[in-house]
């Protein structure tokens, strides 16, 4: 947590800020989902409350808070209360390891823009994401309702199957970047596309050095598996209305239902952030290396010298803010992509879903590993 008191306070503030920003991004996301989905489906969406329906979410939140909190008769009380929190825990924990910018060095302190800089960031995220099944199972079983239990079983088996596809697709990425540390993965994706090919360096200057150009198949597999992990359409069966009422959160109302929503959108945010970090350069800017950006800000110092900070401090703050904006834009685009797909594709049937996970994605993931390993070994094809 930090040795000195100042570090402790800064870390506590950072945790609070990041958690609250995740929780308050959710209403914005829901607004984008409802208005964006309406636009895709050629209808209007909520437009009565506030300009463009922006206050609809505030109204919904107020409604959720004032609704009656009930417990079904045959429910297991302890697990029924804990399940929404159990759902929210893994999505918050996974977001802790994702870097959102370079560290800010100000007044002698170094403030990294992520909660936990883990050496094993990538598999930590995989490990904690696999804990998300407990919340779903607890919710379904403790409701005392057969439909909820069936929805929970289907959700759990779907999530377990696609965790495997998720992990296998990430092994290819690991082979290319040679490290678990997400900060280093982002640092390796700077500048134009350059790699070694049979010992000769090759530079393709019109493409950025992003992970998607090294691992396109892994990107597709990871994207699909991320959709399945967050229970989003087209893998929406566990909570599919018209299939099994509302699946594992049938018996939940009021604020607990809101927490399930927040957990699902939190998972979405984490998955988008991961896609941006692993395959699209993370918080970096395309074609611009870290050194080049800092030089640019150093040269502009004269114009900005009215800000009362030392030059090194100011440059560090400006680069961190630029990186943060870049990260937000990339994550925002992938969040919009999640919402876009949801309103465009129909739902998978359960056996089609399991077939896809085990018989299509797992073999293709293994093929990806073999081909990547051969390329890395024989042609020294790795991100320079």
């Amino acid at each position: 947590m930090g040795d000195t008191t100042v570090e402790l306070i800064v870390n506590a503030i950072k945790i609070a800020v990041i958690f609250i920003s995740i929780v308050s991004t959710v209403p914005l996301l829901v607004w984008v989902e409802r208005r964006g989905g309406a636009f895709i489906q050629n209808r209007l969406g909520p437009n009565r409350v506030g300009p463009l329906g922006l206050l609809q979410l505030a109204a919904d939140a107020v409604k959720f808070i004032f609704k009656e909190e009930f417990i079904p008769d045959r429910a297991e009380k302890v697990l029924y209360f804990m399940a929404p929190g159990l759902c929210l825990l893994p999505s918050a924990l996974t977001f802790a390891a994702i870097p959102m910018g370079s560290p800010i060095e100000i007044l002698g302190f170094t403030i990294p823009l992520q909660i936990a800089n883990l050496d094993v960031g990538l598999i930590y995220i995989l490990g904690v994401a696999s804990l998300g099944v407990y919340g779903v199972l607890a919710a379904g079983w403790s409701s005392g309702n057969k439909f909820a239990l069936m929805g929970a079983m289907r959700a759990a088996s779907q999530m377990i199957s696609y965790e495997i596809a998720l992990g296998v697709s990430l092994i290819g990425v690991l082979l290319i970047f040679n490290t678990f540390d997400l900060n280093q993965i982002v640092a390796l994706q700077s500048g134009p596309l350059s790699f070694g090919f049979f010992g000769n360096p090759v530079v393709i200057s019109f493409l950025p050095n992003w992970g998607i150009f090294y691992q396109p198949l892994a990107f597709l597999l990871f994207l699909t598996a991320a959709f399945a992990e967050t229970n989003r359409l087209p893998f929406d069966l566990p909570e599919g209305e018209s299939e099994i009422v509302a699946g594992f959160h049938t018996e939940y109302g009021g604020f607990k239902f809101n927490m399930f929503f927040m957990a699902e959108y939190g998972h979405m945010i984490t998955s988008s952030a991961l896609i941006a970090t692993l395959f699209f350069g993370g918080f970096g800017l395309p074609f611009v290396t870290d050194g080049a950006l800092r030089e640019f800000f150093n040269s502009q110092y004269q114009a900005l010298s009215f800000i009362p900070l030392a030059q090194a401090d100011l440059v560090s703050v400006l680069t961190a803010v630029t990186y943060l904006l870049s990260f937000i834009i990339k994550t925002g685009f992938w969040l919009f992509f999640f919402i876009w797909i949801r309103w465009s594709l129909p739902r998978f049937r359960y056996d089609q879903l399991m077939d896809l996970g085990w018989k299509t994605m797992l073999p293709w993931g293994l093929v990806n590993i073999v081909v990547t390993a051969i390329m890395v070994f024989y042609s020294q094809y790795k991100a320079v």
Binding site: D3, L79, D119, V120, G127, V133, Y134, L149, M153, I160
Partner: protein
Amino acid sequence: MTPTTEDLLFHTLAFLATGSALLVVMMTNPIYSALFLALSMSVLGLMFFTLEAYFIAVAQITVYAGAVMVLFVMVLMLFDLHKEHEDILRVTPLNVSKLIAIGALCGILVGVGLLKAPHKEDTLRKTEAAITQTLDQDVTSDASNELIVAETKSEAPVEKPAMTDEPTKTLAKALYTRFLFAFEVLGLVILLVLVGAVALAKSKGGTHHAAH
């Protein structure tokens, strides 16, 4: 002595781990038992983090808490708990013989443990005597040499690799070169278990087997 952060962390995690392990056997509802077991395994993983064994910590959380216990909990949720509770406590010849078998197994384990203890002490004393003999007298007679070689050959010490900056890479290199055979054999064993489980489930007709 002021408590450091490591002290605080260790004691909190230790309390959590032992407490949840105790609750596994104290809970009446088996699903709560399984969930507490999952909690205790996750907390063990966290303790590995404090010991700077990052890869093992994450592997513990991913494999044990995230895969094994999830499947346990899933299967447990499909049972009718009241019926299973009654079935276990009913006095039938099968249940009584199960109890006798468990008692016999415990007795065998305790007996073997007690029986082996003097033998181990003997070996230890002989090894100590041989080593002090050679150190004090610096005698290289065949008898004492043979004794040392015979005693220490059975427990050849494994050299510990030095702590490096990249523990995960060192672990991976050792796993895929020195221990490759054991790794592959373990994979085959797990595959056997998988095939056996599927075969068992199919032969008994799955969960719709009309037992009652």
